[in-house]
């Protein structure tokens, strides 16, 4: 039993990604003395928190097979709305208003996809453009809206017991998402719908309902991320997070969540986001030019996804050890089952 447990642990994709992440951190720590400092790690984690929260929502949505490419625009819209309301009605109602707006985006996305049967890629890409436009309209210019000191800035920049609040928020959202997927009937229904909609339907689970909740989760998380980003930068920028949805999706897929639904891991997504942010942070510290940064990020990402893919295909460390062992014993190849 203990051996089986050990094999299972060795085969878990999360452990594998953790090793890749640890190796990357070790590499940068050797290459740059500042990288390993606690100040840098704190900053890195606080930076990762914004996209990390969005990634939690994306993971929940992907569990049900709901693909949402409007998350980056939702982040921007929530930030702009929070900043605008902040100047008119004050911080706390502004935060609430931004979150309500984000949830509304999720409701509309879900309705468009499940009720009108529009392809999710197209529907959410169209939504992304629309939201970006609304964000510019609200902001009035691309300079954005400055957020004065208040609850929003506090959320984005203050610390509790030495830990920046965004990190705590990330941890809280991750915990909620983990509990939802692993321990609630609703979360299991999402995974069932993503894994086989037909089976879910015949088991009395509402497929459209699960997909709609998926969109609400991804948009709601993006709303939280947007408010935090506005707080961190002290302004609501309509072009905030542009293009970052791809980063979030790469991190989530890297973590082991399936783009086609039915398989979702919160731990994997957290590790995936940390990996992506570590790469970015390390390259900046190495004073790699921004052009090269994007190139290297792309290359590293492909290598990392390839490594994780090998693991998913069963070519994991256990497989490697068995293969090497066989080679050493000169035993025959495994027979077909």
């Amino acid at each position: 039993m203990s051996r089986r447990l050990a094999v299972r642990a060795l085969r878990s994709p999360e452990l594998y990604l953790f090793v890749v992440l640890a190796a990357t951190i070790a590499w940068f720590s050797i290459a740059n003395p500042f990288f390993g400092t606690s100040a840098n790690f704190t900053g890195l984690a606080a930076g990762a928190a914004v996209l990390g929260i969005a990634a939690m929502g994306v993971t929940v949505a992907l569990a049900a097979g709901s693909i949402d490419f409007s998350i980056a625009a939702t982040i921007a819209l929530a930030g702009v709305i929070a900043a605008w309301l902040d100047g008119h009605v004050g911080g706390a109602p502004a935060i609430a208003g931004a979150l309500v707006a984000a949830l509304a985006v999720g409701v509309v996305n879900g309705a468009v996809v499940t009720r009108f049967g529009i392809n999710p890629f197209i529907a959410t890409l169209a939504m992304a453009g629309t939201l970006r436009g609304i964000a510019f309209l609200v902001a009035g210019s691309s300079a954005g809206i400055v957020v004065e000191d208040g609850p929003i800035v506090t959320l984005g920049q203050h610390e509790l017991a030495g830990v920046p609040l965004p990190i705590l928020a990330f941890a809280a959202v991750a915990l909620v998402a983990y509990l939802l997927l692993a321990h609630t009937p609703a979360g299991r229904a999402l995974l069932a719908v993503g894994g086989n909609p037909e089976a879910a339907r015949l088991s009395g689970i509402s497929v459209a309902g699960a997909q709609r909740w998926g969109y609400i989760a991804s948009a709601g998380a993006a709303g939280v991320a947007g408010v935090l980003l506005a707080g961190r930068t002290g302004s609501g920028l309509p072009q905030a997070a542009a293009g970052q949805e791809l980063l979030v999706y790469s991190a989530v897929i890297l973590g082991g969540t399936s783009l086609w639904g039915g398989r979702a891991t919160i731990v994997g997504s957290v590790l995936g986001i940390l990996f992506v942010e570590t790469l970015r942070n390390g390259l900046i510290l190495e004073r790699v030019s921004p052009y090269w940064q994007t190139i290297l990020q792309g290359v590293f990402l492909i290598v990392a996804v390839w490594l994780v893919r090998q693991q998913q295909l069963g070519r994991d460390p256990v497989w490697l050890a068995e293969r090497v062992g066989r080679r050493l014993r000169r035993g025959p190849p495994a027979e077909a089952r």
Binding site: L179, T184, E198, L202, S206
Partner: protein, 477 residues
């Protein structure tokens, strides 16, 4: 006594097909009512109506004599209907235990009670005799094991109506025996069981009454004791079985396909066979045996090692017409021309006119209906779609045809025609390797049958030895 479940004059039409045409059906508590019929007879459609998956166009459903409308599978579940569907209605990415309890996981204080899930799944899994770790991911199980999980799922709570749709299709004899035991036990407890099958032989083991459907109509309902196997088969197909298969067999010529020690991971192992010109050789195995995958390995579609020698050209007619064989949005002509696109014009160019002319020739040779190259292939019947796929390889000049389940989802009339066609192709000197899980088909059609079990050829039967019982006995050994 009021019947537990009744269907009265149920009509269901799908685009282009009248699947059910005024069918009556009645199920009493504590009986096993078999529903017998060929593919396409309407059995599965009727079941889907009982399961709340389809709504009938007209007609009525009654539970305990009271009319009901089932708007969704959830409604049917609430009425106590449990369906074991033919296509595995399971989630491959979730654990076995969770699949068994899908849609109604035990909970405590709003959270899933995982220890309770494992405990509640253990009993139904033991009942069907499945000995696997309930925590393991379902997708890692063999197909026959998944089928048993499906049955366990239907048994996991108190249903009043249990519908088994071709439940034994991928089970071994001993597993089927255990399933019958479970069914008899449920009958004792007053559950009404609808047992759908196209295997007449199975009925004596379980059924009390039997209803035969053909082409969406009810041919008759009778007590099992009051009927015979021959009569049921005749009701089912509307003609005698022997008339289906071509009689004349040509003298075999040169070897055309030689396979030695073909091995593909997880599919087949050490398969050797030979097909001569003019021969029909069959690979028979129950679903999950690997038989129907062997043509793919020979054609090189899956990584395999071993020795394959072909004299001439190979053509592969895959098992799943819709997803592997056809270009469903295209016309018949383009489906036929798809493997020969380099022949319709000067090098590097393609002339639609030449493709259409070529398609016309194949259509005439195959007697494909309607005889129009520009007809959309999706509108054709199953048999004619299969002819279009065959036509593609004949157009390419294939000498050796590899077919996997060529008559799955094809009605009896078209099936006879495909058999006749294969007979003609062989008479013309071509060779056919046919992989099938249809016992009648391989015994009726083939010169030689290689029986496959767990990816290995366990017996080769020909001539006098080629009889139903011998083949089945070898396949389930």
């Amino acid at each position: 006594m009021t019947p537990l479940l009744e269907a009265v004059g149920v009509v269901k039409t799908f685009p282009g097909v009248r699947a059910l045409d005024g069918v009556d059906f009645e199920l009493r508590a504590g009986e096993v009512h078999a529903l017998l019929g060929e593919n396409g007879a309407g059995k599965s459609t009727l079941m889907r109506i009982f399961a709340g998956d389809h709504a009938p166009d007209s007609g009525e459903l009654r539970f305990d004599g009271r009319p009901v409308r089932l708007a969704s599978p959830a409604d049917a579940l609430a009425h106590g209907v449990r369906l074991v569907a033919q296509e595995r209605a399971l989630v491959p990415t979730l654990s076995v235990a969770e699949n068994v309890l899908l849609g109604r996981l035990p909970r405590r204080r709003g959270r899933v009670d995982w220890p309770a899930v494992r405990a509640a799944a253990a009993a139904p899994l033991a009942r069907v005799g499945l000995d696997v770790d309930p925590g393991v991911e379902l997708g890692l199980l063999r197909r026959d094991e998944q089928q048993l999980v499906e049955v366990a799922k239907a048994l996991s709570d108190e249903g009043r109506v249990l519908i088994l749709d071709e439940a034994t299709a991928s089970l071994s004899t001993s597993e089927s025996e255990r399933l019958f035991e479970v069914v008899r036990n449920l009958r004792e407890h007053g559950v009404g069981i609808v047992y759908i099958t196209h295997r007449v032989g199975e009925l004596t083991a379980v059924a009390d009454r039997v209803t035969v459907l053909r082409d969406g109509r009810r041919v008759g309902t009778s007590a099992l004791a009051g009927t015979t196997r021959e009569r049921l088969v005749e009701q089912m197909v509307g003609r005698k079985l022997a008339e289906l298969y071509p009689r004349e067999r040509p003298q075999p010529g040169e070897p055309r396909l030689c396979v030695e020690g073909l091995t593909a991971d997880g599919m087949c192992s050490g398969v050797s066979l030979e097909v001569r010109a003019g021969e029909i050789v069959a690979l028979f195995g129950l679903v999950g045996s690997g038989a129907t995958e062997i043509p793919y390995a020979i054609a090189g579609d899956v990584a395999a090692h071993g020795h394959v020698e072909v004299r001439g050209r190979l053509g592969l007619v895959p098992a799943d017409r819709r997803s592997e064989g056809l270009f469903p949005q295209a016309t018949v002509g383009r489906n036929i021309g798809a493997a020969s696109l380099d022949r319709y014009g000067p090098p590097g160019l393609y002339r639609r006119r030449r493709e259409t002319a070529a398609a016309r020739r194949q259509i005439a040779a195959l007697d494909l209906r309607p005889p129009r190259p520009w007809a959309p292939v999706a509108k054709l019947s199953g048999g004619n779609q299969q002819k279009a796929v065959l036509g593609r390889w004949l157009e390419r000049g294939a000498d050796v045809l590899l077919l996997s389940e060529p008559t799955r989802g094809v009605d009896v009339g078209a099936r006879a025609e495909i058999y006749r066609l294969l007979g003609e192709l062989c008479a013309g000197g071509r060779s056919v390797l046919l992989a099938s899980s249809d016992l009648d088909e391989v015994v009726g059609l083939a010169d030689r049958v290689h029986v496959v079990s767990r990816g290995r050829v366990v017996a080769v039967l020909a001539g006098e030895d080629l009889r139903h019982e011998r083949v089945l006995e070898a396949a389930t050994r």
